[in-house]
C-alpha cells in the first residue's frame, strides 16, 4: 500500500526546500525525496550571491548569453522575499545586504553598465553608475583597471550551507516529511494521481515537483517527459579567513567574477568558471586552469587579494538550460507535473518556492513566467 501526500518534491536542494516550506506552511502534506544528503549538490556548492542588479551575461565557456534584462523583474521580486527570510524561517542564514559593485574595464563594458542601468531603472531597481575614480573612492580596494562600476545597495550574500537546511527545518516544522538517500526510481500516473517510487518508498500525490537540479531531466524522463537540459559543473575558491576587509559583493560585467567576504572571514572567489569534469555519480573535479584564471581576474580587480592564501577550491553542478534562462512551470500534457531549475536558482530560491506553491494550488504565479515554462525544452 502506498502512502499519500498532496505534493511530492523530488530534490532537496534550495528550490525543493523552499517549495516544500511554502507548500507545507499553506497546510498541504508534502513529501520530499533526495538521492543523497539534502543540499549537497549545486545548492551546497554555489557562491551564495544575491544578485539584484543585472548579472553578467556569460560564464566563461558559456555558449549562449542569457537575456539579463528579462531577469530583472524576477530579481526584484526575489529581493523582496529575501528581505524577510530570516524572520520567516526563525534562524540566521548569514544574510547580508552589503550592496554590490559590478565593474567594467573597457569602453564597451562601460556602455553595457549604462544600458543595464536603464533596464534596472525600468524594473524599479535602484542602481548608480560611477566612474573609475568614484568607484575607487567608494571601495578603495578596487584596482586601477576599473574604468566604471555600477552600485546596487540590495546585492548581498546568504550562506548556502545555511539556507537549504533552514528551509528544510521550517518545512519539517510545518509537517513536511523529508527522506534523504532515496533516489527516485519510477514515476507513473494513473487516474490523475502521480505515483513516485523512491528508494524503498512509494507515495501517491496529485502534484509532483521536479527540482532535481542536474538530474531534473533524468527524473522527468522517468515520467516519460523529455526535456533538453544542459547541466554543467562550475567551481568556487575560498581564501583562508582574514579579518573583515570588504562588505560588498564585487562582480564584473564582461567576465566571470564574483568576490565577497563571508561571515566566517574567508573571501570567496567565483564567477562560473568551468570545473574539469561534471561527475554526477560523485564529486566533480576542479580545474586548475579555471582556478588560475578566476584568481588572476579577481586580483586584477581587487589587488589586495594577492596578499592572501588560497585555502580551497570545490566544484558543483549547475542545472543549466540550453538558452541559459530559468525553467519553471507545469509540463504541458502532464497535469500536476511541475519543474523548476536553471541558472541563478539560489537568488531565485524564495521566489520559485512561492511560485511553485501557487502553481501547485492552481493559482496564478506571483510573477510572469509564461515564457520560462518547459514547453521550449520539450523534445
Amino acid at each position: 500500500m502506498s502512502a499519500t501526500a498532496d505534493v511530492i518534491v523530488v530534490g532537496a536542494g534550495v528550490l525543493g526546500a523552499a517549495a516544500a516550506y511554502r507548500i507545507a506552511r499553506a497546510g498541504h502534506r508534502v513529501r520530499v525525496f533526495d538521492r543523497s544528503a539534502p543540499g549537497r549538490e549545486g545548492s551546497g556548492t554555489t557562491a551564495g550571491n544575491l544578485h539584484v542588479q543585472a548579472v553578467h551575461t556569460r560564464r566563461p565557456g558559456q555558449a549562449v548569453p542569457l537575456d539579463s534584462a528579462r531577469f530583472l523583474p524576477l530579481q526584484r521580486a526575489a529581493s523582496d522575499l529575501w528581505a524577510g527570510l530570516e524572520e520567516e524561517l526563525e534562524t540566521s542564514v548569514e544574510l547580508r545586504r552589503g550592496g554590490g559593485f559590478t565593474v567594467a574595464e573597457t569602453p564597451g563594458q562601460c556602455r553595457e553598465l549604462h544600458d543595464k542601468h536603464r533596464w534596472e531603472a525600468d524594473a524599479g531597481i535602484k542602481t548608480e553608475v560611477l566612474d573609475g575614480d568614484a568607484a575607487r573612492a567608494a571601495l578603495p580596494l578596487l584596482g586601477p583597471t576599473v574604468a566604471a562600476a555600477s552600485w546596487c545597495e540590495l546585492d548581498g550574500y546568504a550562506n548556502p550551507l545555511k539556507v537549504t537546511p533552514a528551509y528544510l527545518a521550517a518545512a519539517i516544522r510545518y509537517g513536511a516529511e523529508v527522506t534523504p538517500f532515496a533516489p527516485v526510481r519510477g514515476i507513473t500516473r494513473d487516474a490523475g494521481i502521480w505515483r513516485v517510487t523512491a528508494g524503498a518508498h512509494t507515495v501517491e500525490a496529485p502534484v509532483v515537483i521536479d527540482v532535481a537540479g542536474p538530474w531534473l531531466g533524468e527524473v522527468a524522463a522517468l515520467a516519460g517527459i523529455r526535456l533538453r537540459m544542459t547541466p554543467v559543473a562550475i567551481q568556487m575558491h575560498a581564501t583562508v579567513r582574514v579579518p573583515p576587509v570588504m562588505s560588498h559583493l564585487v562582480q564584473h560585467i564582461g567576465e566571470g567574477l564574483s568576490v565577497k567576504q563571508v561571515t566566517a572571514g574567508n573571501v570567496l572567489i567565483g564567477g562560473g568558471w568551468p570545473a574539469r569534469t561534471l561527475d554526477l555519480a560523485g564529486r566533480s573535479a576542479t580545474s586548475t586552469a579555471s582556478l588560475l584564471g578566476n584568481v588572476a581576474l579577481a586580483v586584477r580587480i581587487l589587488p589586495f587579494l594577492t596578499r592572501l592564501r588560497l585555502l580551497r577550491a570545490w566544484a558543483g553542478p549547475l542545472a543549466a538550460t540550453p538558452d541559459e534562462m530559468p525553467l519553471i512551470g507545469e509540463v504541458p500534457g502532464a497535469p500536476g507535473f511541475l519543474v523548476a531549475g536553471g541558472t541563478y536558482a539560489f537568488t531565485f530560491g524564495p521566489l520559485w518556492g512561492e511560485t511553485l506553491r501557487r502553481l501547485a494550488e492552481g493559482a496564478p504565479p506571483p510573477v510572469d513566467i509564461s515564457d520560462l515554462g518547459p514547453e521550449r525544452l520539450l523534445t
Partner: protein, 467 residues
C-alpha cells in the same frame, strides 16, 4: 618554468630518498621534492646546523643517506610545497621557498608523502601546550628544545616510547605514559623474547630506559581531559574501558597525545589513483601491488603513504618501487620485491596487533566525549554540533556534516579532526550506502599564496606550450 625528469619523487623521507638514490644510480634523471627545508622526512629529520654542532646528529644514518642521494646527482628541491595537479592530470604544481611557482613533469611519479598523526579529541586539546608526540620529537630533533619541563605522553602505539626517551635525554621530567591499550602486559623485557622482530627488541630497549628513569607506563589508560588557563596545567586520566570516570590527575606543562599515524594520500587522490577505506582505521589507503604501483601505470606510492609500517618497511617499499619503476622505464627486469616486504609487513602487523585498533578506540572513546568538546579546532566546532547535524539533516553523511558545521573546513583541511569527525558522524547516524567515509582531497593540498598562483597564471598565459 617546467621541470622535466624521468622520475619525480614527492617526499624526501626514508622511502623517497632510498628510491631516488637507486633510480639516479641507474642513470635516470630524478628530482626529489620536499616541503621541509631539509631532506630526511620525519624519521631522519635533520637537526639545525647550530644544533648539530653542539649536540651532534641523533640519526647519522639519515645524514649519510642524504649525502649519497646528493652525490648520485638527484636534484633536491627542498622547501617546495606540491599543492596541486594541473588539468593534464600529471603535471605537479609546486611553490619554491621564495613562493615562485614550479611546474614539474615526470615520465613517472613516486609519491612518498609520509603520514600525519592520528588525533582523537578530548576536552582541552585546544589548550597551548597540548601537542602530538611527533611535534615534541620534531622540536627535540631539529632544535634540541624540550616541549615542556613536566610532560605526560598519551595515546597509543609504539611511538610514545621513543618520544619519551628523547624527552628524557633532554632532561625533561616525563611524569608518565598513558597507553590506551595493554600491549606491555607481559612486561616490556619479555617482548624481546618474541622470535625475530627487531622492532619489538627495540621497544624493549626503550622500555628498559624508561624503567631506569622510573617513568610509569599506565596501560589501559586514556586522557579524559586537559585543564589550564593560558596553557595546559593538568591532565586527568581515565581507564580506557571507562573513559568518563577520572582515575588520576597529573600536573604538567605539556601534554603530547597521539594514536599512531595515518597515510597522507591527498596527492594520490588528486592524481586519481584508487584508494580503499581501511576497515580497522577508516583511513583512505592507496590500492597498490607489492611494489607500490597504483591503479595508474605511471604512479607509484611508497613509504608510510602506502600504509603505516615504520622506517624499515618504508625503506624496503622505496627500494621495491624504484626497481619496479626502473623495469618500466628501462626494460630491465625487476627483482621480485615481495619477500622482504612481506616479512616486514608481517612484523608491522605483529607490532600493530599489540595495540588497540583505531576503530575500536573510537568506538570506546567517542561515546564518552562531552558535547562541548572541540571536535574541529580550526573552526571551533563542538562534538555536540557534529552529532546533532549528523543525526539530523545531514542524515549520516560525512560531507554534508562538514558543509553544515564547518568541521574540517579550516586551514588543516581536516587532517587533525577528520578521523574523529568521521567517527562522530558514524556514531550519530547509520551511514547511508552512498556516503563517503573520508573527507575528499582538495586543491590546494595546503593553503597556497595567491601571489604564487598569479605568477603561475602569467606563465600559463605566456609560455605554456604542449607537453
Amino acid at each position: 618554468m617546467i621541470v622535466e625528469r624521468d622520475v619525480l619523487v614527492v617526499g624526501g623521507g626514508p622511502a623517497g630518498l632510498t628510491a631516488a638514490l637507486r633510480l639516479a644510480q641507474a642513470g635516470l634523471t630524478v628530482t626529489v621534492l620536499d616541503e621541509q627545508a631539509e631532506l630526511g622526512g620525519q624519521y631522519y629529520r635533520r637537526p639545525a646546523p647550530e644544533v648539530a654542532a653542539l649536540w651532534g646528529d641523533h640519526r647519522p644514518e639519515g645524514r649519510r643517506l642524504v649525502e649519497r642521494v646528493r652525490a648520485a646527482g638527484v636534484e633536491c628541491r627542498t622547501g617546495h610545497l606540491v599543492w596541486g595537479v594541473a588539468d593534464d592530470g600529471r603535471t605537479l604544481l609546486a611553490a619554491d621557498p621564495a613562493g615562485r611557482p614550479v611546474r614539474l613533469r615526470g615520465r613517472h611519479l613516486l609519491l612518498a608523502t609520509g603520514a600525519y598523526e592520528r588525533a582523537i579529541p578530548f576536552p582541552g586539546w585546544q589548550l597551548p601546550g597540548v601537542t602530538t608526540p611527533g611535534f615534541a620529537q620534531h622540536l627535540a630533533a631539529a632544535d634540541h628544545t624540550p616541549i615542556g619541563d613536566r610532560v605526560v605522553l598519551a595515546g597509543s602505539g609504539p611511538f610514545l616510547l621513543p618520544v619519551a626517551c628523547t624527552l628524557l635525554a633532554l632532561g625533561v621530567r616525563v611524569a608518565g605514559i598513558a597507553e590506551a591499550g595493554t600491549p606491555y602486559r607481559a612486561g616490556l623485557r619479555a617482548l624481546g623474547a618474541v622470535r625475530h622482530p627487531a622492532r619489538l627488541r627495540e621497544l624493549a630497549g626503550y622500555g628498559a630506559r624508561l624503567a631506569r628513569a622510573r617513568v610509569p607506563i599506565w596501560q589501559g589508560t586514556v586522557v579524559l581531559r586537559a585543564d589550564g588557563g593560558d596553557r595546559v596545567s593538568a591532565v586527568t586520566l581515565a581507564a580506557t574501558a571507562r573513559p568518563a570516570v577520572p582515575v588520576r590527575t597529573v600536573e604538567v606543562d605539556a601534554l603530547c597525545v597521539g594514536y599512531g599515524f595515518r597515510p597522507q594520500t591527498d596527492l594520490v587522490r588528486l592524481l586519481g589513483c584508487a584508494v580503499r577505506a581501511d576497515a580497522a582505521t577508516g583511513d583512505a589507503v592507496p590500492v597498490t601491488d607489492p611494489a607500490g604501483r597504483t591503479s595508474r601505470e605511471d604512479v607509484h606510492v611508497a613509504g608510510e603513504a602506502a600504509g603505516i609500517g615504520g622506517v624499515h618497511l618504508a625503506t624496503a617499499r622505496g627500494r621495491a618501487a624504484a626497481d619496479d619503476i626502473l623495469a618500466r622505464l628501462t626494460g630491465r627486469p625487476a627483482p621480485r620485491p615481495a619477500r622482504r616486504i612481506r616479512r616486514l609487513a608481517r612484523f608491522a602487523a605483529l607490532t600493530e596487533a599489540l595495540y588497540p585498533s583505531p576503530a575500536d578506540l573510537l568506538a570506546t572513546l567517542l561515546p564518552a566525549l562531552p558535547e562541548h568538546t572541540m571536535a574541529c579546532r580550526c573552526e571551533a566546532v563542538t562534538a555536540g554540533e557534529v552529532r546533532a547535524v549528523a543525526a539530523g539533516p545531514a542524515a549520516g553523511d560525512l560531507n554534508a556534516t562538514k558543509a553544515w558545521t564547518r568541521a574540517g573546513m579550516g586551514p588543516c583541511q581536516g587532517r587533525a579532526c577528520g578521523f574523529a569527525v568521521a567517527g562522530l558522524v558514524r556514531e550519530a547516524a547509520p551511514a547511508p550506502a552512498a556516503a563517503t567515509p573520508v573527507f575528499p582531497a582538495r586543491t590546494p593540498v595546503r593553503p597556497v599564496e595567491i601571489a604564487t598562483l598569479l605568477d603561475l597564471a602569467a606563465e600559463d598565459a605566456g609560455t605554456d606550450g604542449p607537453a
